[in-house]
Amino acid sequence: MRVLTTLLTPDEGSARVAGHDVVSDADEVRPLIGLAGQYAAVDETLTGRENLVMVGRLYHLERAEARRRADELLERFNLADAGDRVVKTYSGGMRRRLDLAASLVGKPLVLFLDEPTTGLDPSGRLELWGVIKELVSDGTTLLLTTQYLEEADQLADTIAVIDRGRVIAQGTSDELKERVGGDRLELRADDPEQAEKAAQVLSDLRSGAPMVDQATGRISLPVRGGATVLIDAVRALDRAGIPISDLALHRPTLNDVFFSLTGRAAEAEPEDEAAEARGRRGRRP
């Protein structure tokens, strides 16, 4: 990230951003990019507006143009009311929004976000995700680094998984999830002794070998076909008269992908478990 934003000269290799070499054409790269850092790089002792005007002036906008752009961005990022307050008084989420606004002053072609939501509470994170999605749909190219795999899933079209400095997998979110084997249907028979029978009833739906836990009555079987599988499963079990207490279609998360690629869990678990529950869940009525 620091190499691509011209902050650091690479030891070896080369990189191009928007067609310009980051080492030999660094002066051409800088006007085209925006960078928002992990540690919100805004000046605490200045107001939000002063921060944005300063950045605008450093992009060599005319004074009036820099002011206009600052107003525009404050409005867009919901900071208009706080614009004349010193940044020290801002909440963490407001600071990140201002940082992001500052990175957009120069209307960048390529936006670099280095762990944009690290340390934010869940509502601050969702808010920032909304803004970022909007930017991307407006046509900005975004390069994002994150430790939160959920965040990559939400915001990224293409994901590169980096473990200990090496790219270990690359692709869209769906492609990566496909690699760990698609969806799994998980259920529990009320009577553990009926678990084996339930697995047999569902054998038409499965796409691989089921796992049955005789002690608890838990069954897990790989399936294809999405949500309709749930309906078929409920019908089949009802017909066979097997009462169950839990039924869920589990879609793999990027955490599962990371785990299966590296053999260990992602280093930073998302704090927000609620946002993790993405599998469509069904319950027997």
């Binding site: 067609g19 006007p31 850092g37 540690y39 790089a41 200045l46 450093l58 060599h60 120069g106 072609l109």
Partner: protein, 278 residues
């Protein structure tokens, strides 16, 4: 249209090069730094209280024990106080840079199409402006306790300018410390530890001839002595200046200017190199 065609905007790229944008960037950064001093008045208050304490300490506590023939001690002391104030004040340069590095401001600046030199020049200029104000304040305090300019208005202005110029040169030393250490508290500690021996083993507060020989050897070439004597040559009347400092008035002024030039020639390139590496 390919991405490349969309991206190549020669007019936009040209605007970021050359002297005019570099000057404008320096002005923006200078304004930003000065605004910070206004916003955090405690910083300004405490950085001015300290030199005032030094004036009072030396004028009334130690001053009675210092007897310099042929000159009123307060007239001798105040130019030394100007230099001490300027040097202590210039330490803020490194502290400010370390603060900007640790808060990610330097990363922000470096990702912008601004002149790379502006972060350093804007910082040293804003600290020089602040030092000018503090030296003027010290002049006022000096007048209250009996200090006077004896060389006329022009020499008085030249004396103050010399002190401020010296603070600017010291700002570049401080910049190098801040850029190398990168941590506010450590920079602060390192600055004061390295500056103390220079300030006290000099002619800033007492004449050198009372010091042991080995210390005199150091104090004579100490840039702080050279600066203090250069200012004295301008604030004392010619006869007193000759009696206290020896030699011609202009020799002392030139020596002070030479010390400033040498410091700039060494530390400006070193600081710029350190900035490139951060």
């Amino acid at each position: 249209m390919t991405v490349r065609e969309l991206v190549v905007r020669p007019a936009a790229a040209m605007r970021h090069r050359g002297l005019a944008p570099a000057v404008s960037d320096t002005v923006v950064i200078t304004q930003r730094n000065l605004l910070k001093y206004v916003r955090v008045p405690t910083l300004l208050v405490f950085s001015t209280i300290q030199p005032v304490m030094f004036v009072l300490l030396f004028a009334y506590v130690f001053g009675g024990a210092v007897n310099i023939p042929g000159v009123n001690y307060k007239d001798f002391l105040l130019p030394g106080i100007f230099v001490q104030t300027a040097v202590f004040g210039s330490m803020q340069t490194g502290i400010g840079l370390a603060d900007d590095i640790s808060h990610g401001m330097v990363d922000r600046f470096r990702s912008l199409p601004m002149a790379r030199s502006a972060v350093l020049s804007g910082r040293t200029i804003s600290d020089t402006v602040r030092n000018l104000l503090v030296v003027l304040l010290m002049t006022g305090v000096g007048y209250l306790i009996g200090f006077r300019f004896h060389g006329g208005l022009l020499f008085a202005v030249a004396g103050i300018l010399l002190a401020v110029l010296f603070s600017h040169a010291f700002s570049w030393i401080s910049a190098l410390l801040g850029l190398t250490i990168k941590d506010v508290e450590s920079t602060q500690a390192a600055s004061f530890a390295s500056i103390f021996p220079f300030v006290f083993a000099s002619s800033a507060f007492v004449p050198i001839f009372t010091m042991p020989g080995w210390l005199q050897a150091f104090a004579k070439v100490n840039p702080i002595s050279l600066a203090a004597n250069g200012i004295r040559a301008l604030t004392l009347d010619q006869k007193t200046a000759h009696f206290v400092l020896g030699g011609s008035r202009w020799t002392h002024v030139w020596q002070a200017l030479l010390a400033i030039a040498v410091m700039l020639v060494i530390f400006v390139p070193l600081s710029i190199r350190a900035y490139r590496k951060t």
